[in-house]
Symmetry: C2
Subunit: 388 residues, 2 copies
């Protein structure tokens, strides 16, 4: 039995349900005598480096309940990537606060950090249990079937596309282009096609997993718009040409060295107007796709909470060096089960959208993805009426 | 008692609740023996000119129920502005289908059309009852206290801003700029400040009613971002400089001769990065702000349905040449009452956001607007939790 304090931190961009993982972890920690003080790091790695911790045991139960409906990170997050030079300060923080349980809640980069902290503890002989809690709207974490945060982002994309399709078909005077998040992985953008069969208008969808072909795109836009039903185009922010150059390039690089794409929807909309003469407009919900409480998936939220609780439970039981993941079955009905995945298998690995789930036209999504993704969205009434 | 058929048509951009007005009108019409066949025009004025009508009496009650939760126009709408040359064809359609009750559901331009149809009927001696049903997310119709469609668009703006504020404060690495609809009237953008007191970050808001001052803007952005809490900027698509030139100009003109603004949020975000060195990103939900079912205001929806019913009821009672409007009291509690406003008072008139409700800094909204607007949003739980 390892007695000591616990530290939980958030890394990278928030999701609608990352606070539910925090809720699950804190409530589980309260049940175990091994864990004395429950700390949260203020603004992720920044708080760890500065020793700026919050005593979460003092938060009232009523306030904890609100975590389940609060989007973004209640602790604060950061995009600071820890370097080797930072790790002595991390260890110093752990020693100062007698941290024996460390939980990092994040995506690819955060799991890399988590893995390095685990290795550091092993090498330095500091007794520490380290478990990663998965979090990313992008669904690009390796090995796990899916990742908390994605179900809600997918629901936002699917519902937004279906609702926009009502508008595009009711007033079919312009092509409507919507941009969705996902730089390298097209999972969220693919989700915009989940209700494609119910859409009253034409729909084209472009993911970053395939090369964007301008001529084929403009031809498809003209052919599909000409049917007179309206046309919705959904597109990932990270689409690029065959040579790898982004369709829209802002020229910026973020704190992790990732290129920041420019406005893909605006670029395509301008392209449509300039090259076809059709009217077009662009929508870019951007961050709204990761903060919507109304479109939060209850399945996603519950799984996020369970992942947080499972991380603490497993650490108390002696596990370390793992990320919590999900194994699922989908027939006869959706069931998910928590599992542990060695951190080295997920650190910096990236799971892209499967090419075999992209339609032969390069602008549609195959039904296999619907079978995979729809259960993650939870309840949603997709019935709309057209009298036209 | 005037016996004959009824025609209802949609004009201009849809709202989340325009189909509720249709629902109210159809259900009311079924109660009156004077109205024989209930027609809807397919795609608004286009359907009238082409004699392309839908028999709405044949729609099942179950399908009618779905109108209350279907955004955009179930009949189809259009942006075609009727000219004097079109009116003989309009009259011909009415005569062919024995239309004696005509309801046009739209905004400024549509009320102008409605008024002209009313005058045409008077001049030609064709017995016709004409009532306008108000519809615009922009809330810029004259005389009426507010307009169906606005409450839902305002709720979308207010909730989206409050949710984005959680993200901007949890990861305060960039300025977040959100663009909202409203070319000439800032009502929707002002609604983004309804929960300003609850925002965990700084907030600046810019409406088209005031001239945009670039230097003052950049200074405010730097000062407010420097506080370290995060910064959200909300801005109308139609903001312009003191000389009237748009901050973002797409160079396009729509079917009504209105200039189509470019990407105001993208322009401001680029401006921030270029001139201050701060990181910035832009969000532009665009049409999503007028189709969201999840953020539809129940107060707005109910009033939209009542407006449709009232139009039919008043027409059957002999009224013609009016638009349905709302008179309200807000103390001790919100109550709205339907009234009739002569069409000539609303045709092409535009109600802008009151300058006296804009803060002295030109980038905030005064509490008087909150008192006016919050009741229109209906139920919403604005409680979020920060542990930072």
């Amino acid at each position: 039995m390892l007695k000591g304090n616990m530290l939980i931190a958030h890394g990278g961009g928030p999701t609608p349900v990352i606070n539910s993982s925090l809720l699950g972890a804190v409530r589980e920690a309260k049940r175990h005598g091994e864990i004395e003080t429950i700390y949260g790091a203020r603004f992720g790695a920044e708080g760890i480096l500065a020793g700026d911790l919050i005593d979460l045991g003092k938060v009232s139960e009523e306030d904890l309940d609100l975590l389940a409906k609060t989007p973004a990170s209640a602790l604060g997050s950061c995009r600071r990537k820890l370097t080797d030079a930072d790790y002595p300060a991390v260890l110093a923080c752990f020693q100062k606060f007698n941290i024996r349980y460390f939980f990092y809640n994040g995506g690819n980069d955060s799991m890399d950090t988590c893995h390095k902290v685990y290795q550091l503890a092993c090498q330095s002989g500091y007794e520490l249990r380290v478990i990663g809690i998965p979090k990313t709207i992008d669904n690009d974490l390796a090995v796990t079937d899916h990742c908390p945060g994605f179900g809600s982002a997918a629901k936002y994309a699917a519902v937004s596309a279906l609702e926009l399709a009502q508008d595009a078909s009711a007033l079919p005077i312009h092509v409507v282009v919507m941009e969705l998040m996902g730089r390298n992985a097209g999972w969220i953008t693919a989700a915009s096609a989940l209700y494609a069969d119910l859409m009253p208008c034409e729909h084209l969808v472009y993911l970053p997993e395939t090369a964007f072909d301008k001529e084929a795109f403009l031809q498809a836009v003209q052919e599909r718009f000409a049917k007179g039903r309206g046309l919705l185009v959904t597109v990932s922010e990270g689409i690029h040409y065959a040579d790898g150059s982004p369709v829209a390039d802002s020229g910026l690089v973020d704190g992790f060295g990732h290129k920041v794409p420019g406005g893909a929807a605006q670029t395509l909309s301008d392209m449509i107007m300039a090259e076809t003469g059709l009217k077009s407009r662009s929508e870019k919900p951007g961050l709204l796709g990761r903060v919507s409480v109304a479109l939060m998936s209850e399945v996603d939220r519950r799984e996020a909470e369970e992942a947080g609780a499972a991380a603490v439970r497993n650490a108390v039981e002696g596990k370390t060096g793992f990320m919590v993941g999900f194994e699922t079955t989908r027939t006869p009905e959706y069931r998910s089960q928590l599992c542990l995945i060695p951190l080295e298998q997920v650190a910096n690995a990236e799971k892209k959208f499967p090419l075999e789930w992209i339609g032969a036209d390069g602008a549609s999504i195959r039904p296999e993805f619907r079978d995979y993704c729809l259960p993650l969205l939870g309840d949603y009434d997709s019935r709309f009426i057209s009298l036209r």
